[in-house]
């Protein structure tokens, strides 16, 4: 079973919840557990928020999400054409944030790492950021036996 979708939207904070639910609606064709879906939604929320507040610094821009389902595996790519990240290594450290004034926790990348099976961050200053995330659903769930 293979399926895909792509989503593009204005980098406005009101679109975060729309993006999260859209991805949730798409992956729910795999009938994940509540926990798995919550993890995916949280990850989308973190990556999209990063694109909006760090990538575009709340200026006009476009965020894209692509989602592929290949058998039970979900591949998510969240992209922006914003300011990019100088030092990806450093940015991915737990608690690192370049915007402490916004009361960011610096845990976005750590959460993505924890909830997904694989994460790849590609970024170029002045060009943009691309986060690729992979999650394999554990199936079948205990409840169905």
């Amino acid at each position: 079973m293979q399926n895909f979708m792509e989503l593009k939207f204005a980098s406005r904070s009101e679109n975060e919840s729309f993006a999260r639910v859209s991805v949730a609606a798409f992956v729910s064709q795999l009938d994940p557990t509540l926990e798995e879906l919550t993890e995916i939604k949280t990850v989308v929320s973190e990556a999209v928020t990063n694109a909006i507040i760090h990538g575009y610094e709340e200026q006009d821009g476009q965020v894209s999400i692509s989602c592929k389902i290949i058998d039970g595996t979900i591949e998510l790519v969240i992209e922006d054409s914003g300011r990019g990240i100088e030092d990806v290594e450093e940015a991915r450290q737990p608690l690192f944030t370049s915007k402490p004034e916004l009361e960011r926790s610096g845990m976005g990348f750590t959460i993505m790492e924890n909830f997904m099976d694989a994460i790849e961050v590609m970024s170029q200053p002045g060009v943009g950021t691309r986060v690729r995330l992979v999650k394999r659903l554990k199936s079948p769930s205990v409840a169905s036996h």
Binding site: V21, S28, D31, E36, T38
Partner: protein, 77 residues
Amino acid sequence: IGEIQRFLRDDSTVKVSRSLKETARQVRRTRDELAKKLNRQPHINEVAEAMGMEATEVVFALESMRQPASIHETVFE
């Protein structure tokens, strides 16, 4: 058996399809109550506020009412 299964349920075992249907039932109840109280069709934010949920999540839950029951559900209900 239903009792035991309800007891055993937690987020790591309960399927989204089932959980959404439960939420959707509550959304419908809330919608009907609001419609009665306000004497008009409620807006999505009114329902969302009454449920303590985001509007987009209410939309998502409502959609589950439309989908055919999964195999798991048929077996257990």
